[in-house]
Symmetry: C2
Subunit: 240 residues, 2 copies
Amino acid sequence: MIERHLMKLRARDEIDAEEVAAIRAAVSEQRRYGPDQTIVPAHRPVYNCTILLTGLAARARDLRDGGRQLTELHVPGDFMDLHSFTLKRLDQAVVAISECVVALVPHARVKEMTETLPHLTRIYWFATNLDAAIHREWAVSLGSRSALEALQHLFCELHLRLEIVGLVDGDGGFALPATQTDLAQCLGMTPVHMNRTVQHLRASGLADFQGGRVRIADINRLRAACGFDPGYLYLERQLR
Amino acid sequence: MIERHLMKLRARDEIDAEEVAAIRAAVSEQRRYGPDQTIVPAHRPVYNCTILLTGLAARARDLRDGGRQLTELHVPGDFMDLHSFTLKRLDQAVVAISECVVALVPHARVKEMTETLPHLTRIYWFATNLDAAIHREWAVSLGSRSALEALQHLFCELHLRLEIVGLVDGDGGFALPATQTDLAQCLGMTPVHMNRTVQHLRASGLADFQGGRVRIADINRLRAACGFDPGYLYLERQLR
DNA sequence: CGAGCAGTTGAAAGAGCTCAAAACTAGTGG
DNA sequence: CCACTAGTTTTGAGCTCTTTCAACTGCTCG
């Protein structure tokens, strides 16, 4: 059930049997959400953390003008609101983009972990710092990359993040159950311009996004096109 | 010496005498940096964390075209690279914007803390999650706010962050030893456009930035103008 | 078959960029 | 005390990317 979550952790550190047992024991219940449903609302006290098991979710900030800015996409295996453990409430909601299945871990279990399992605590601390690194990279896309580069970069990021949890096909493609409007909200542009950018990318032959799937013709050329450097995803095993 | 750092922590939680003693004992040495010097380089192993004592610093990402994107501004009291403790290396450098004085805390001391002081560990975990919340708010500025709103929002954020460490004057103004080009790199725009935006803000009478100082005429009107909601700074005392 | 949503297209307007040069400021050395 | 330099701020004009608005297509589903 939380296998993808373990895969994600194991890509960055070693976890021993006791730690795995603690993680498994921490999960309390499972829930299902439909597209556009709020998984964790903003500005309210939070008592659980949420692991995404299947589907696509996002951190979302509603704007004054009715629009919204997405600040991170979550793939299966992600602890989407682990930061709520220390923050106690969220500044941004966690919303389902596609149909999602999640597992809940009560804050009380996480707190126990911080009292008894310092190494696992550091691993989870690391996990939230990884989210922050992803935020910083998105800031670079939003502030300094063209629409096309930003989209290419997003696809490169998702490709790697999905690969480590076993969700990339043999041909290098992957499911991305989102609309062009969702992607536009990630990259701070209008749906119309996202549509033109997708067409531009399609015409370039480097990659395509259609029917909720991303196809990548040549990942190396795609990375070169947008200057993608995977360093910020910290894909090296290291004792934390 | 680390009084501003303690002020920042105390704005969000209670810290007892033992914890304060541990923090004081953790500091090893002090260093001074001039404007534009790199305090912590990116992509290299890191063995210390760095507290900013005085000055202004930033997290900086160099771009292919020679420019750079700043992803967070650091004010005195900030643990600028606490995330390096779990990440082991930084994806973005920490650079001095003005003359800076910093204090070093070896990773080994932080690790000891995680083994013996779980509450303080949670406080520092919280601190890195607060940085992530700031990143998310910057993503909103970069993606969804106009240049003027983004600048107003940045000034509102700095006003609050500086206030809790005692660096806002009686008249509501504060020192911001940065150039317009630095601010442009924060908000993902050109120096020329930043200049026009500063002039726009000046003409509006809401705030001004000149000679390394921000003057705010009416903080409430400034907040209203850009839709600033201080919630993401988590300025409430809470047992973490 | 109509409703609704996602995707697509076109044309005009606007925000921000680029390039280039001038004005201002502060520090330096004679 | 003044000229000199370097960095910062300011200004102008044309251009590009992105937005806005509005319409139209295609698909899915009740």
